[in-house]
């Protein structure tokens, strides 16, 4: 864990990027928290939306504002992301606001690897669809959608922050595998034209 305890955190792949028919890039470190408990509890909602400054997302949605996001992970789980600079402050605030033992939070900033796919909207959706058994058409996966699934062999979550961009998180331990998968799917010459 030496790369996690130094003065500045190091991402799993050091910001690796691949220029294919879409650009695959590892995103800079963000603060990332898992919040677990009754999503209708006021303390839960306030903790998430207060820190992120966005509205509470509905089922299968992510509420976003740049690096700030609250995403609906399951009926009793939220994912909260914030700029890394706010990490320490957010930990203190979550500790203070989620006092109820039935509402839990965990710091997963360094448990995850985070990638982005960017380029033409159809091509970005196609690269994601090559790897996950999910309908990524603009109608089924519009802007603001959040979907947990698998990327070949590993668990992953996808969201669409804006047209022409899909972001992916997976476990940090499989970051290299995930990056190679995404890069291979984005290899020039492998265009399918699924959502063209």
């Amino acid at each position: 864990m030496s790369d996690l305890t130094g003065p500045a955190p190091v991402t799993a792949l050091g910001g690796a990027a691949f220029e294919g028919y879409v650009r695959v890039a590892e995103e800079p470190q963000r603060a990332m928290f898992t919040l677990r408990g009754d999503l209708s509890a006021t303390a839960m909602k306030n903790a998430a939306t207060g820190l992120a400054g966005v509205d509470m997302p509905g089922q299968g949605q992510a509420a976003l504002n740049a690096e700030r996001m609250v995403a609906w992970m399951s009926p009793d789980e939220l994912l909260l992301t914030l700029p890394w600079a706010e990490h320490d402050k957010a930990c203190a605030q979550l500790d203070a606001t989620l006092g109820d033992p039935m509402l839990n939070w965990g710091d997963v900033s360094q448990a995850r690897a985070h990638f982005s796919l960017s380029g033409p909207d159809g091509a970005v959706r196609e690269v994601a669809a090559k790897l996950a058994p999910v309908d990524f058409s603009p109608a089924a996966f519009p802007q603001g959608s959040f979907r947990r699934s698998r990327m070949n062999q590993v668990a992953a979550a996808f969201w669409c922050p804006a047209p022409g961009r899909i972001e992916v998180i997976c476990f940090r331990s499989v970051a290299d595998y995930a990056f190679r998968l995404l890069s291979d799917a984005a290899r020039p010459g492998s265009e399918v034209g699924l959502y063209a």
Partner: protein, 109 residues
């Protein structure tokens, strides 16, 4: 391939995103049960050709357990319903009765 609608997270996924947890609606016999009841709970499973009720887990998604009713021959999925029940919902049974008149699965018909 099965297409299942997870009743917990509302997502439609294909089979490989889920994991089958075996037969549904099994009564778990405790230490106070007699040997016959415990044996029935522990070992006896149906393996029908046709309508079947199973437990599934959305393993690559929300991680929750739920129930599914499907046909083991045609792979039609009649529907999915929450795990917190000991019997399939009546409207789902109506749908199955309409498609498979006279079906019987354990004590459900």
């Amino acid at each position: 391939m099965l297409l299942l609608d997870c009743p917990c997270c509302g997502q439609r996924g294909e089979e490989t995103e889920f994991h089958c947890g075996g037969e549904a609606h099994i009564t778990r016999e405790g230490p106070s049960s007699d040997d016959a009841a415990f044996e029935h709970y522990m070992f006896e499973r149906v393996n029908p050709r046709g309508v079947h009720f199973e437990r599934w887990r959305h393993v690559a998604g929300c991680g929750k357990w739920f129930h599914a009713a499907r046909d083991t021959v045609t792979l039609e999925v009649w529907g999915t319903y929450p795990a917190q029940t000991s019997r399939p919902p009546e409207e789902l049974l109506e749908k199955i009765r309409a498609a498979r008149p006279g079906f019987k699965w354990r004590d459900i018909a």
